[in-house]
Symmetry: C2
Subunit: 218 residues, 2 copies
Amino acid sequence: MSGERRKFTREGEERRRDALIAAALDLIAEGGAQAATVRAIAERAGVTPGLIRHYFHSKGDLTRAAYLNLMQRLTQGSFAAPDHATDTPEGRLAAVVAASLRPPVMTPGALGLWAGFIHQVQSDPAMTEVHEAGYLNYRDLLQALIATLPGVWTSDVLRQQAIACNGVIDGLWLEGCALPHAFAEDEIARIGVASVGAILGVDLLAHLPPVATKETDE
Amino acid sequence: MSGERRKFTREGEERRRDALIAAALDLIAEGGAQAATVRAIAERAGVTPGLIRHYFHSKGDLTRAAYLNLMQRLTQGSFAAPDHATDTPEGRLAAVVAASLRPPVMTPGALGLWAGFIHQVQSDPAMTEVHEAGYLNYRDLLQALIATLPGVWTSDVLRQQAIACNGVIDGLWLEGCALPHAFAEDEIARIGVASVGAILGVDLLAHLPPVATKETDE
DNA sequence: CTTGAAATTATGCAAGCGTATAATTGTGGT
DNA sequence: ACCACAATTATACGCTTGCATAATTTCAAG
């Protein structure tokens, strides 16, 4: 009657690490950083707590790995265009902005996730570096896209435009995540595309890609 | 030799509540929500932990009160113009935007503080309400300011402009808080004023108020 | 079929958490 | 000068946390 020892199967190291990271991100998104305890993460990943310390030197290590993973997926989600049939610079830019302000990038869970890391980003130098790299990477991609637009600007102006566009996108992303029901369907994406266009002096709204309805990606 | 019982003085209820709230906000800003334990808050406020439950029904109660306090101070910080000698609509708007993107509103601690509450804002209906009210209040003040600008727009366009302007401000605030050293002195404020101007089709940069140097506010 | 190393589980520990409750102390009214 | 009451401190309890370590199980190689 005494509890039998739990059966298990050996998995590759990579799969286990990924599963643990995914579990941690899930929990942070749902319940904040405080909900991502060692025990909860293990349970969600289908293992026992001790295994975490077998794959990660400490909980902080797992946290850092999870944040890196998150940043990569966020940038990819915005810049990996699903089917940008449009081949004009305006069309590509509008597609990136819209993708950043729609699911699955703009999601209540995404905001909680991001917020759950902020303090560690500010206090842990290693995470500050990851954050800064991710931010600058996103902004540089955006700036490269802006540079393809018709018109010529100095690199200084270009930089300021990229910062400003990145700002609108982030700010609208934030508000759309925080108060989803305060806006109409796809309203944030439309406002974002229009605003980026206004900042750059280009009409982007005409290139707003339609919201994907039920496409099974793959 | 056994520890003598600690001396204390009675304070007014309001002062004690304020002190506890201030201590909680300090700790969250410094170390995230996890650092704001009952014991740490009490120590920071100069009292013993039990007193918290004498003034607040639970720790969650204290947290809610602290968030309300924070939101009020943030809005006030942006809209309580210090010395807006400028009396033009453009000048007033530029002053609000600039104030939102300078200390003491734009501060590393402010971001940590805000992020520390996000999850509770999303899960606790009472805090969702406080957040939504604070957001809409800020946006409405902004929209009222925009409406005083020359030119006539439909209320629909006005609403979208307010959302967009609020978005740039929030986004730039976020990035300025998160990566203070990634931008030049007052660069964020300048970009913010310029971007809001671009979105509204008005030249606001000419009205950018100078950064206050050493004025002892009072 | 055995064996041995690696992966996984199980158990335990010290510290910290929020909360409840009892014991004291300061203070204004009489 | 006292006294009662509210403000404050002190103590204790049950629970959870991250981490360390020992005991087992899987699985591939020989």
